[in-house]
Every structure is written in structure tokens, then in C-alpha cells.
Amino acid sequence: MQLLINTLASAAVIAPAAIAFTLVFTLFRYANFAAGGFVTIGAFAAWTLNAALGLPLWVAGLGAMAVSALGFAAADAVVFRPLRGRGGGTLLLVSIALSFVIENIIRFFYGGQIRGFDLPLTGPILIAGMRLTRETVAVLSISLAATLLVGALLTLTPIGRALRAVADNASLANVRGIPVPAVEAFGVAVAGALFGLSGVLVGLDLTIDPNLNWAVAIPVIAAAIVGGLGSPLGAAIGAIGIGLAEELTGVFLNPTYKGAVGFVVIALVLLVRPQGLLGDKVDRK
């Protein structure tokens, strides 16, 4: 049972970023390896607002989401948009370079040490033999709420329908009178905010470290691929799968191998079911 809690907590941390990754992939057809960079931005923005400026954590969290949404919008305008149509490989390479730049900008200003939010220390609550900290409860409920909210946004609202239409076929959507650039900008903002939210959750669940970049990017991408690129629900389920795989490995293997689990899972999924769990129409050409 404790394993279940840990699994859900790991999954909850990466789920928003995995959904954002898949959103970016469906809209613009590139694998954004800078995902981890924007998660790190979210974590550090939240830390700055909370621990350095003394704002309450929920305000800091919302602020962090805004900061990383702006950051991703700026990156999209300056780096990604001019390169659209130059092929997924080019964008992928650029996103790796960008994540590298982001990681080092953060290191430049914050140094290398590890930090935590300014939270009162509380003991764990015991429920039916499971140890639950307040942070874990918060991470789980915030992530679940965010997932449901994004799901509802995509399926129930007009803007969500427009987003899916643009992702499906931008020129067709354009002909049908959907303002494609505005919808894309909205998608970018939502993705950026979700990256930032993952950053806040990382800070709640673990610690904030400039090295977050790859440690987060890998399970995030793994979750999106396992779930099937392009399916937000799949990304959430994929996150649980990755969380489970990580926790189970921790039982049998040295827990320091956790970082490799995402890759092994990716490799296995790609071999057996390249379209992922919930992906059906995958046009990878």
C-alpha cells in the first residue's frame, strides 16, 4: 500500500508536464526536450516567490505557473516558431540546446545548492498503515485537479475543440475560420503553465535542484510516449505507469537506478507498441 502511495506521488509530479509535452507534440509535431528546463523554471520561480519573498505557497505556485507560461511563450516566439517546418529533428536538437541554456541560466543566478520550500515541518499522518505527509496529499490532489481541469478544457470547451482541430489539421481549421495563431498561443500558454505546475509539485514532493532538468525530462517524455503521444489521458496513465515502474525497481534494484527506468520503459514500449497505450493514429513520417 505504501508502494501505491509512492507510485501515485511520483506519477502526480510528472503528469502535468507529460500532458504539456503531449500537447506541444500534437500542436507542433516536435518532441520538446526542453520540458525539464521549464519544469525547473517553475520550481525556482515558486521557490523565489515563496522562500525568498515570503509569499504563501499557493500564491507562489500560481505565480510560478505564470512565469513558466511566459517563459515558454517567449521561447516559442524566439526559438521554436521561426524554425517550424524545418523538421522534427531540428526542433528536437534546438530544444535540447535550449534546456541546456535554461539549466545554466538558473545555475548562474541560483548556484548549485539544493533548496526546499518554506514549509512548516509536519509529521506524517497514518491512515490504515500508510504514511502520508501533508505534502503528498497536496501533490496528489493538485495534480488530479489539474489533470481533470485540462481534460475538461480540451473536451468540453470551444477553445479546447479549436485546439484539437488545429492539432489535427491546422490548414483545415484555418479554412473553417478558427484563428490558428491565437489558438496556438493559447496552447503554448497552457503547456507552459503545466510545466510550471510540475515544477511546483517537484518542489513539494522532493527538493529543488538546478539539476532537475534531465531527472524530470526523462520520466516526463517516457510517460508521454507510454501513454501514446497526442493523448492527454494517455499521458496521465503513462505517468502512473512510469511511477509504478520506478517504485518497483526501487524494491528489487539499487534505487539510484531509478533514473534509468524511464528509458528502459521507453525502449520496451517502442519495441512492442510504438504508438503507446492510447495512441491510435500515429503519423510518424
Binding site: G89, L93, A97, F100, G111, F263, P274, K285
Partner: protein, 309 residues
């Protein structure tokens, strides 16, 4: 010439080998390998284990390293080459990260985070410090020559043209009866073999290798060398590596004017510059300093847009 310059040239030579190998994989064949440091590391550790644990001479270590690199390359390609570009990128990145975790965790084999000490040198012992440094530089430059001649030869022969054709559109060579998968696999394995060879030279040059030597910054420097120099052009890759190493090492000489920054900030700043230059090159000069020479009358498609991207 002072010892510092000899050291920089030695490291530059090792980077040239890595970049030439990546140019075969990416520049010619369009394979996005983000696991450069993985193969580099496999070579370094394989060579270290062969010479220190099993007491082989340096040459034995080099051969073991290249063999290990080729095997690793073959495994990765069999696993992922049928998939498209992005997935190969993810799998190779994962390979590099996993390999680094193995180096870090399996203390009994690799010395763990403390590193692996290597006594064996590529040159005879008892030469004195300066002469040894020069001799190792000579060995590395010989390695660069071999890598350059072999890879340049590969790239200018019909074999290289087939690789380029696969990069542009794998359907056409397939229709002409070329086994596209086999060509991709060969290009990947040959590249991995040279990367591992570079790793072996590196290990016996620095004499202590730790998992930290094989992290993303190295891969970014190598990628930048290929892109800035001009993907698909071996001479361009050579020039690109020299530009990158100059940029990277040269910034050390600016420390006089940047004394208000602490060392961590300075190192972060160098990486910010390197990442930004990479992004700017891709944006504004995707063909690099020395674009790929094309014998076709039509202007070549940008090498940065492999059709399978």
C-alpha cells in the same frame, strides 16, 4: 609552446574524433544520436578495465574499447533504428544516461563516483612530463588522422552517397535495391566504434575517469562542432571543432575581466554561450561554416532537415 596549449590540443583532438564520428551518423546519414557521451564513456571504461583489471597493454585496451563501442552501437541500432528520428534520439539519450548510472553505481567495476584510476599510458614510461605530454598529443593526432582519412574516404565514395541518399529520402535508395536498414546500422556502428576509440585515448590521457566526465555538456560540445562546422562535411567538422574548443577554452583567458563572477557562474555562463551559439547557428546558418559540397546541380536540401526528422 607551453604545457597548457599541448593539453588543449590533445583534448581538441579527442573532440575532433567524436565530432567526425557524429558527422558520419548525423551529417551523412541523418541519424540523431544524442548518446555520444555514452559511447565515449563505454570506450573509456572498457579500455580502463581492460588495461587495469586485466593488465592488457594500451593497444589491447583500445581494441577492446572499439569492440565494446561497436557492440553497444549495434545493440542500440537494432533496438531503435526502425523507428523514426525522434525516437532514436530519445533511446540514445537514454542509453547515455543509463550507462552513466552504471558507471556511478557499480563500484566494484568502475570505481563508482570516486572514479577509476588508470596507470597505463599510450606511450612508453620514463619519458619525463613534458615529453610524455607531447608524445600523447602525437598519438591523439595520429588517431585524428586515421579517423579523418577513414571517414572522409567513406563519405566521398559511393558508400557515402548512398548514406546521403538515405538521409534525404530512404524510399529512393530502397527502391534501387539498397538495404537501408543495413546501411543505417553500419553508419551507426562505425560511428560508435570511433567514439569509443576516442574514449579510450581520453581515459589513458586524463588517467582518472569519473561518471561526471560523461555528461550532457560533452555531447552538446560535440553536436555544436558538427552543426557549426557544417553537417555532412568532414573538413567543416574539423573546423567546427576547433571553433568550439577555442570558444570554450578561450573563455578561460577572459577570467581576468570577469573576476566578479564566481567559478560556478563562469562555468554556467560558458555553457549559456555555447547553447545559444548552437541555437543561433541552427536558426541563421543551418548549413554551418563550411556547407556540404553537393555535386548535384540543384541546391542541396538543408542537412538539418532529414526527411525522417
Amino acid at each position: 609552446m607551453d604545457a597548457y596549449l599541448v593539453a588543449i590540443l590533445t583534448i581538441a583532438g579527442i573532440y575532433v574524433m567524436l565530432a567526425l564520428a557524429l558527422n558520419l551518423q548525423y551529417g551523412l546519414t541523418g541519424l540523431i544520436n544524442f548518446g555520444v557521451v555514452g559511447f565515449f564513456g563505454v570506450g573509456a571504461y572498457a579500455s580502463a578495465i581492460a588495461t587495469e583489471t586485466f593488465h592488457l597493454p594500451f593497444v589491447g585496451g583500445l581494441v577492446v574499447a572499439m569492440g565494446a563501442g561497436a557492440v553497444a552501437g549495434a545493440l542500440i541500432s537494432l533496438l531503435s533504428l526502425r523507428l523514426s528520428g525522434d525516437f532514436l534520439a530519445i533511446v540514445t539519450l537514454g542509453f547515455a544516461e543509463t550507462i552513466r548510472l552504471v558507471f556511478n553505481n557499480e563500484d566494484w567495476l568502475t570505481g563508482g563516483p570516486r572514479g577509476f584510476l588508470i596507470g597505463t599510458r599510450p606511450v612508453m614510461s620514463g619519458l619525463g612530463r613534458d615529453v610524455t605530454a607531447w608524445a600523447i598529443l602525437a598519438v591523439v593526432l595520429a588517431g585524428v588522422m586515421v579517423a579523418f582519412l577513414v571517414l572522409q574516404r567513406l563519405s566521398t565514395t559511393p558508400y557515402g552517397r548512398t548514406l546521403r541518399a538515405i538521409r534525404e529520402d530512404d524510399l529512393v535508395p530502397a527502391t534501387l535495391g539498397k538495404n537501408v536498414f543495413l546501411y543505417r546500422l553500419q553508419a551507426f556502428v562505425i560511428g560508435a566504434l570511433f567514439m569509443a576509440g576516442a574514449g579510450s585515448l581520453y581515459a589513458h590521457y586524463v588517467q582518472t575517469i569519473t561518471p561526471e566526465n560523461f555528461t550532457t555538456p560533452v555531447a552538446i560540445l560535440v553536436w555544436m562542432s558538427v552543426i557549426v562546422g557544417g553537417a555532412g562535411n568532414m573538413v567543416g567538422t574539423l573546423v567546427g571543432t576547433l571553433v568550439v574548443v577555442t570558444l570554450y577554452e578561450g573563455s578561460r583567458f577572459l577570467s581576468h575581466w570577469t573576476s566578479f563572477l564566481d567559478p560556478e557562474q563562469m562555468s554556467a555562463l560558458r555553457f549559456i554561450v555555447i547553447g545559444s551559439v548552437l541555437i543561433l547557428t541552427i536558426r541563421f546558418r543551418p548549413t554551418g561554416l563550411l556547407p556540404e559540397v553537393s555535386r548535384a546541380p540543384a541546391p542541396p536540401a538543408s542537412p538539418l532537415t532529414p526527411s525522417k526528422g
